[in-house]
């Protein structure tokens, strides 16, 4: 295994272990996701709008909000007792540190999404028997890019007193392309449309991932180094 990857896994492993011991952030984020789904169901006039029409938007707004809550923790845990200094002093290349934080964030967001998806099926009464793999693939494709941006922004906003407020303000504009793409693909998947109708959006999602993971890795050292 390449050294950089091993170090990234060490950093990610540390975050995941710490989270599994307390489970606070993970639990709150999943409960939050469930609540957003419930609220969506009541924020709709059932006589005017069928659950199926709202389903793709409800799923992705829930994923986006829950991801934001989950990502806030990545660097707030490092703020306590200046733990970030220890991490920065460790002989780890910044790229590996970024990759580790990104992997940990992806693990959290994926866990929240994995809990929210069955609840979504239950609450919105959608049939995923034919589109499950497609939806999982779309979720992976759409999540990676904005979590990379969120990892960089998370490291920045934690230096302010308004981290929890600033992260959504900065990150939501960056969530627009993945969110629009994911909703479009999801609604076509649920309507059993052919792949050719989604290909354009899938390309945009993939391009977004490649561009923003690369860019985030490049600028990360400017964010953490003094």
């Amino acid at each position: 295994m390449p050294e950089g990857l091993r170090l990234a896994l060490v950093v990610a492993g540390k975050d995941i272990r710490a989270e599994l011991r307390s489970k606070t952030a993970l639990l709150s984020a999943t409960v939050f996701a469930a609540l957003v789904l419930v609220i969506f169901n009541f924020a709709r006039d059932p006589t005017a709008l069928s659950a199926a029409d709202l389903a793709p938007s409800a799923l992705w707004v829930t994923f986006a909000f829950a991801a934001m809550v989950a990502m806030n923790r990545a660097f707030t845990v490092e703020r306590e007792h200046d733990a970030i200094d220890g991490l920065l002093l460790a002989p780890i290349p910044r790229e590996a540190l970024f990759a580790g934080k990104l992997l940990a964030n992806l693990a959290f967001v994926a866990t929240v999404e994995a809990v929210a998806l069955p609840l979504f099926v239950l609450f919105f009464n959608v049939d995923l028997s034919r589109s499950l793999w497609g939806i999982l693939g779309t979720a992976v494709l759409a999540t990676i890019g904005f979590v990379a941006v969120g990892t960089v922004f998370g490291a920045m906003v934690v230096r302010t007193r308004f981290a929890e407020l600033l992260l959504p303000v900065l990150l939501l504009p960056f969530m627009v392309p993945p969110l629009v793409g994911a909703v479009q693909v999801t609604s076509r998947l649920l309507a059993d449309r052919p792949l050719s109708e989604m290909l354009g959006w899938l390309r945009i999602l993939a391009a977004y991932d490649v561009v923003f993971v690369t860019l985030a890795a490049l600028v990360f050292s400017s964010v953490v180094d003094e």
Binding site: R159, T160, R161, F162, V169, I204, V211, A216
Partner: protein, 237 residues
Amino acid sequence: MSAAVPPPSRDRARAVIRRGTVLSTIALLGIAGVYVLAAAFTPIEARQGVAQKIFYLHVPAAWSALLAFSLVGIVSVLYLWLEDPRLDRFAASSAEVGVVFAAVMLTTGPIWAKPIWGTWWTWDARLTLTLFLFFLFVGYLSLRGALHDRRERARFSAVVGIMGLVLVPFVHLSVYLFRTLHPQPIVLKPSAPSLPWEMLRTLLVSTLMFTLLYVGLVTLRYGIGLAAEAREAHDAG
């Protein structure tokens, strides 16, 4: 690198503020002239009537806002490379002035759209993109306001500036596809500019004045930034 740069003197700050005030005043008088030019010496558009007059403010304001935001993006790239505090001061000034112009653009637009399109707002690709640019730079300024260490603030804002620069084509592409794949009720789009000379003249004069106002306000804001730094350095001893 940037630690060696001495803090700006108060005299220099005063001189820059004076220059910015003069330029902005000239530009504002020029824009007052544009009102007269547009109202009295420019023909009324045949189909849109008087509502079209707002065009002479809306388009130049949009031009200045986009100029401001593009320069923030470019200067952010340069900052991470050169770490020159002047670049950061400029980016901060340009972002702030850009948000003001964007606010002018986003308020004059709906005022025109209501009589012409029949709706204040529509999710047209161009409208959506400028709205997100506005939000992006409001976020940029919020982050700046929440950070106190000058070099940290400069680095962080440069990162947001660069990310924003890269985000624009993605937002544009997705809102454009979103709109064309789901056609809205028919939207009357502004036609290609084949303007009669009197209208083109008013537009060009106005664009010139708005650009001058941009330069003036950025200079003024830059001077205020210099004064704040000089004051901080003075207080620190």
